[in-house]
Amino acid sequence: MDIERQKETPLVEALKIYKKSRIVSFDVPGHKQGKSFKGLTDFFGEDCIKVDVNSMKPLDNLANPTSVIKKSEELMAEAFNVSKAFFMVGGTTSSVQAMLMSTLKEGDKIILPRNVHRSAINALILIGAIPIYINPGVEKNIGIALGMKTEDIIDAMDNNEGVKCVFVNNPTYYGICSDLKTIIEEAHKREVLVLCDEAHGTHFYFNDRLPKGGMELGADMASVSMHKTGGSLTQSSALLVNAKRINSNYVRTVINITQTTSASYLLMASLDIARKNLSLEGEKTFNKVLDLCDYARKEINKIEGYYAFSKELINNKNVFDFDETKLCVNTKNIGLAGIEVYDCLRDDYEIQIEFGDISNILAIVSVGDNEFTIERLVASLGEIKRRKEKKEQGDFIFEYIEPVVVTTPKYAFYAEQKTVEIKKSKGLVSGEFIMAYPPGIPILAPGERITEEVLNYVEYAKRKGSYLLGTEDIEVNYIKVSEEL
């Protein structure tokens, strides 16, 4: 990476010049740099509204970049040391979908962990590809889903015809990494592509104390959620491509099928700025983040009952590495559900964390934090224990349910469907998802058989207060099933 080049922000510079020019707009957006009415400028500020513009000659076009966006994307590629980077403005969901749509066709097979983000399974509904799920296993004490064992992936590749890709979370929401290096070697030996969902791993590329980024290890594509840990605006993301096995022009074509033709310059400029910052300051910043997390973990673990887990989970099987910037705390032994602690932090202490599940909370520590905010979090957790600790300890045992894939998610989704009471759905084929948090694993996806095991688990998860979602019926009492199967 050429540091001097990384200091440039071509798209931002072009926007600055545009801002100074006194151009008269007879194009969209209709607010005309905020001149149409005061409301927008009052709220967002003039500087912001003035660059909310449409594609035009000096500002390039995301659908087919030839000048400043092209240069900014090149700098992004250099920053991640990949052959090609695409700016994405539809969130990392759009990156994940573009990744799958440009590598799979109808009937192709893809290996993916069962705790995959639903954006991936949704992409399979569009494509018609066949999922082969890997059981990520669960850490029994803390109740979270883990990574994929390499041997399970090898078995799946060797025992299935027509596997095109392996899809890997790097890391999972909880910070768990699989042995990506070996997975990539084994996959490439068999001419199988490796795609990484790095929605929670952008920072991996900018600090050696963190697990390795997928592209550094030779993955073929990765979706990096610049806005999550990289510092850009919400909904901005990047798709990284290694051109050895992937035709990036085809990827561009696929992206343009679903991506807006009016990409927001606010989002794109934020990618430019965040990339520069990661390249120049990333190492220093994430050193600080890691130190803050170390401190927080040590202090939280001094409060009896909380368990802020970290690298001790590594077992070289389904936990190959751990992202220490994910400050995840198990709350089971203070007798409170993670979600109760989550609510209490927000309602009583004005602290918003990422999420709480039945037995854990997750705080994201980033560039924006400092010693004072960490101290507040630790002190609040201490107070919550002092005020609210309960004797009884709820236990929630997750048993992995092997999915019975009857047909592709696409076929089941588009087939004629009817709604039935979930209790009476045994043996039918689901047309919908059922997700459960924790541990963040789909219990059912479209095209899968509703077995007795599934029904028992849904009942159990509901009773235990697990958060179920995915069906049209928000209470998950009814489910849509495929009529033809």
């Binding site: 202490y349 004005e350 004072f372 101290e375 507040r376 002190a379 609040s380 201490g382 107070e383």
Partner: protein, 282 residues
């Protein structure tokens, strides 16, 4: 040429003092520290441009933040003071021979150094042998302390910047934990007048009320603080500031004070209606 110090009390209200000399200016690790000399208010110092202490009117603030608690419970032995690097609160505390231990927690060591150099009037007693100084985050200190104090005084800046953590529920909760059964918490409670300060005040009151069984607010008139109308919080596990006032006992001590007296002690808890309403509605 005229040199003026100006503080924006709101976006549309300014307060200015004519300055004779700008004695000191430096960005510390946490904040900008400035010391000025003026004819009207003597030497004064500011943090991030906001007025902290002037030689002329500091007696009001320091009398009120200390003596109200000590006249309610003259048996206070162990005191924790958070903030207060100027030393004024410590100076008033050291006048009580019965106090055995004073821990001072100030985030910014440079505030102490600067005040020792330019404001001996407030900082003169920082060297008292009962005083121990800790330069760290107040929230961290109370969270970690295993000692029990009879009195905690929160002599903080406004709740933005380094003082922010000292206006939070977790801070007040940890103070409760660090107080003995006799414990009293006094805090700088902002002002009811301008909206921004009033919001801080309401928020602080709400938080303290949720934690302490006894929780009231008292007032003083401080010319150099925004609107001049300033509030303090009195929270306690046991002592009521008015019912338990030890009037005779305190007067027997014979402490000469310029603002505080035991009549004013009772009177300062009587608040204007609009302030009462704000406090009742939190």
């Amino acid at each position: 040429m005229e040199l003026w110090y100006t503080e924006n009390h709101t976006d549309e209200v300014k307060f200015s003092i004519k300055v004779e000399e700008h004695l000191y200016s430096n960005q510390s690790k946490f904040q900008k520290i400035d010391v000025f000399k003026s004819n009207e208010f003597g030497t004064f110092f500011t943090l991030d441009g906001l007025m902290m202490v002037t030689e002329k009117d500091e007696f009001i603030y320091h009398d009120m933040i200390v003596h109200t608690a000590l006249a309610t419970n003259p048996n206070i032995k162990k005191v924790l003071v958070i903030g207060a690097g100027d030393g004024g609160t410590i100076r008033e505390l050291t006048r009580y021979k019965t106090i055995e231990k004073i821990d001072l927690v100030e985030i910014d060591e440079e505030v102490v150094t600067v005040c020792q150099k330019f404001l001996p009037q407030t900082s003169e007693k920082l060297e008292d042998e009962r005083v121990s100084m800790y330069f760290e985050d107040g929230l961290k200190f109370v969270r970690m302390t295993e000692k029990k104090y009879d009195l905690i005084i929160v002599d903080s800046t406004d709740p933005f910047g380094p003082g922010e953590g000292l206006f939070t529920a977790e801070f007040y909760g940890n103070c409760y934990k660090a107080l003995s059964g006799e414990g009293i918490l006094i805090n700088q409670h902002e002002s009811p007048y301008y909206d921004e300060f009033a919001n801080n005040m309401k928020r602080a009151h709400k938080r303290i009320k949720e934690i302490f069984p006894i929780c009231s607010v008292y007032q003083a008139h401080i010319p150099t603080y925004p609107s001049g109308h300033w509030l303090f919080g009195f929270a306690s596990k046991k002592h009521d500031p008015i019912k338990d006032l030890k009037k005779e006992e305190w007067n027997k001590l014979g402490l000469k004070t310029k603002y505080y007296n035991t009549d004013l002690h009772v009177g300062c808890f009587a608040l204007p209606n609009y302030v009462k309403e704000m406090l009742n509605n939190v």
